[in-house]
Amino acid sequence: MAEAPLLSLRGVTKAYPGVVANQDVDLTIQAGEIHALLGENGAGKSTLVKMIYGVVEPDTGQMAFNGKPYFPKSPNDARATGIGMVFQHFSLFEAMTVAENIALGLPGVVVGRELSDEIISVSENYGLSIQPDARIGTLSMGERQKVEIVRCLLQQPKLLIMDEPTSVLTPQEADKLFLTLRKLAAEGCAILYISHKLEEIRALCDAATVLRQGKVVEQCIPADETAATMAQMMIGDTPVNRVARVTRPGEVRLVVDELSLPRIETFGVDLTNISLTLRSGEVLGIAGIAGNGQSELMQALIGERRSPRPTTIRLMGNPVGYDGPEKRRRKRMAFIPEERLGHGTVPVMSLLENTFVTARDQRKLEKAGFMNFAAAARFADEVIEAFRVRAGRAENSEAGSLSGGNLQKFIVGREILQDPKVLIASQPTWGVDAGAAAEIHNALLTLADAGTAILVLSQDLDELRTISDRIAVIAGGRLSAARPAAKISVEEIGLMMGGELELEAAE
């Protein structure tokens, strides 16, 4: 290729206290190319892209755009150069209109008839219909992403960066997005597509750069690879296969009976007639894209939110719908929430102090209101040892100072060592390195073998297919019937998540 590349990075490095996010990265993107940036969570994709977009500056290295040196000091510089970006976590203003949000992203633009017309014409051109006067808060995730894209397109970018765009889309919405991106590429706009979804990259992208732990490990052409070979580049080892488990589910431990809850958050999801049955010794996985009712369901199961009737949730026959989390734990339920910091643990408190969050009753950490620090220390040490948590001493290590994987192991260990009858976990290995994730999966399966009933909510289909006996799908606040994991296909799950296939009501 004699053409100068559109964007080229050479030896780019960025370090933060305690971690090197990017090490000596080289990257080359041609005009009109759809280029994938591939890597697991924490591989350094987001940091690299922040540097390209001017949000942070590299410590060392060179960047060039269209042959000229490129040193953006801010996103404004990046946009002026011709780079647009759609973030994974949208920077939108919920209480303001589509037109206002777009105007905020464009320098010097005022909201008015002219802008509205432009918005409509551009959006229709690329098949992204949106209403300029709608308030963002009323739009779905897919529609909000369209607003983000239109905002970028109005500046006629030469390079469009998409950060994990399909993480909030249904498979059908993702297909529509791909059409838009292909049209853009055909017109000469390059796309930098960040993802860890291998099939998508194979379907969409012309070239790929693979990052692992901050370094470039591979550059390839996705069409020439298989999902398996790309996964190997990403993870470095052969992916773990599904553990063959012989399960003989025992007595019914947990029943959710037609749970319907109206949303509290303005942008929350109503739960409608959710029913499920969980037996001793089995792992039930609930698949779903974030924002489809998982948080609301967790709140109801934990007891942070009261159910409509006490019998809506029954623990071994016992109605617990009105019970708070403390009472449910006394009845031997345990919970692992989605966010480790700020929900599962207090970041500024030590691991020892954090044992009091859930284990007060089970491990007798409290006597007449006074805290028993000796007992808590013993428990914390037990957890740290049994689950190989890499931390200092329990009373000195602040939860916030642990790595994601280690903290998650601590939280999982804290719950498992309370010997619960029912364990409910949400995104148990999100943001956790592969090694720790495997340990956590093993621990869960061991617990199930010992008789505990386990419910796992996760966005990661691979995870669910690895550990679950049965899988159900949550979409739009409704739950499908649970089917044996071996018998359900990815296509079926994908379609159900988009609401296409008729969801059968659970028994």
Binding site: P325, E326, V346, M349
Partner: protein, 358 residues
Amino acid sequence: MIKLVPRTRSSRSLVVLTPVVAIALTVLASAILFAMLGKDPGPAVLATFYRPLTDHYALTEILVKATPLILIACGLSLGFRANVWNIGAEGQFTMGALCGGAVALAFYDVQGYWLLPLMCLAGVAGGMAWAAVPAFLKTRFQTNEILTSLMLTYVAILLLSVLVHGPLKDPEGLNFPESRLFHDSAILPLLFDETRVHIGFLIALVVVVVTHIVLWRHIFGYQIKVQGEADRVARFAGFVQNRIVWRCLLISGGLAGLAGVFEAAGPVGQLVPALPTGYGFTAIIVAFLGRLHPVGILFGGFVMALTYIGGETAQMEMQMPKAVTSVFQGLLLFFLLGIDFLVRYRVVLTTRRRSAEG
């Protein structure tokens, strides 16, 4: 360029050092203030901040002033840690004085050891009742407690005024708006003769110890800390937020009310409209000065009391207005807030390396 980077752990040494530096800066700023007002800064600063520490009577006055500050601030610190902002302590203080004082006046011709404890109970109850209103409004209607507790402060002060002008006025007095002087059974016993230091000071010390135990050894203190640091974790742990709000407001209201009845039955000795002198607001500063820690509050109470005495000295010897005390106190809090960030953040000088001129 300068960047602020959050510390992973608060710097222990700076936590203690910053209030000291803030105090030093306040003294410095006061010197400048004196100079600007045409007074000789050196002697003025000495008279204001140093001499009270060497004068025996002034020292006892510091104890007298510190007592209500410590009592109220300990109560407030619990709430502040849990993000419950009781700004109406002045009103609860007033109601405590009013209720306790009313009991004293009701039995003005009766002697007995039981009267003082009864007055204290009434004072605590009065303060609690006044704090119960913002507690109820917050838990039931999600109404912000800052504004409700504050509005009630003005109501309480007006209530004291109207009652002292009317039903509680001394019938044998000269029609001045003040109550009878409290009789012997209704006056707090003194700790040291020839001073105004009363047993309230001992009670304040006890409250400091109890607050410490609650915060670090009791589950209620743990609930407060978790609620304040990460309220989602508090909910996850099963701590009921409403209960925490009620308890914090009632405790701080009760302690403020107790401080109020102590003030009425101690240094003042009667009910007058001018009884509330701002301890409820100053206690907020004491709580922050002491970093919401009971021992810190103990010292902070002494420091603030010193600014009161110093202000009085400045008033008498240098003809400054009474308000100069507020200026000292405001400055102290400004400096404390200003350098507090050093405790939570590190100042980092970064150099940017570029491989070509930009």
